[in-house]
Amino acid sequence: MLETPGAVLPLNYWPVMVYGLIAIAFGIVTITIGYFFRPSKPSQSKLSPYECGCPPVGDARERFSVKFYIIAMLFVLFDLETVFMFPWAIDFKALGAFGFYEMLVFIFILMVGYVYAWKKGALDWD
């Protein structure tokens, strides 16, 4: 019989699925129960976004500054750098000195980008 990779189900992951289902069910159940029991008397001021604050001005769906985008992009890239470090850290002893130096090269190349971002002022907010 030809064995495909999925033929052996990782059944030790089923609690994760159960957990996800319980989380979704909890959200649905609590909101539904609340819907049946809460009094519903909507008014103009109650439905406004900030019920007890200043009257809202303009629209919440405004355009954001591009500064957020730079921060998010840098976050994603350094996040990926960390992802590469996880299997390396686990295999650190098996890989030996060679593994250490190849990761140094990897980090050095990304450090160039980090220094570039710093010098360009991409990390400054103003």
């Binding site: 064995e3 985008y69 990926l80 590469f84």
Partner: protein, 170 residues
């Protein structure tokens, strides 16, 4: 049986979510439909016994890429984007392009040969040494060059993002 049911469930949700992403008028809704999509892709990876890839899928895609997409959407003028129909936009140009790509994928699928030969990393072997350990053993030895190239690609992305975004600011 369990395997087929699981795969059909994950695949259906992925396809439905993907269709929702490209047909929603509000870009924010499109991005939010990507979230269940990413989680179900992670589910398919789990079913393939690729635990590390599944974890990375959730961490990077559902965590980081999603945020990036939301930021990009918020850079747009949503009120203006909302009234523009998603399907039917330059249809005569995009449809042949998409169909050609689809044809390529089908051709690859049909021409590929599945003879069932296995490498040294079978499911049993991977389970023996551990999923992340197996990836580390191969990635940092046999695939050393692609690994270092990955850092250069990340550097290019970093510099590109800063150049594109900073030019607007200054």
């Amino acid at each position: 049986m369990l395997l087929q049911t699981g795969f059909i469930y994950f695949a259906t949700v992925i396809v439905v979510c993907a269709l929702m992403v490209i047909t929603r008028k509000n870009p924010v809704h499109s991005v939010l439909f990507m979230l269940p999509l990413f989680f179900h892709v992670a589910g398919i990876f789990i079913m393939l016994n690729a635990e590390f890839v599944a974890a990375v899928q959730v961490l990077v895609y559902a965590g980081a890429i999603m945020v990036l997409f939301l930021f990009v959407v918020m850079l747009l003028n949503i009120q203006k984007e909302r009234v523009r129909p998603r399907v039917g936009l330059k249809w005569t140009f995009t449809a042949p392009l998409g169909l050609t790509l689809f044809g390529f994928l089908v051709a690859i699928l049909v021409r590929s040969q599945y003879n069932g030969t296995q490498g040294s990393f079978t499911i049993e072997a991977v389970k023996q040494i551990g999923n992340s350990q197996a990836i580390g053993q191969v990635l940092y030895t046999d695939f050393l060059f692609p690994f270092e190239v990955a850092s250069v690609i990340l550097l290019v992305a970093m510099v590109g993002a800063i150049v594109l975004a900073k030019k607007r600011l200054d």
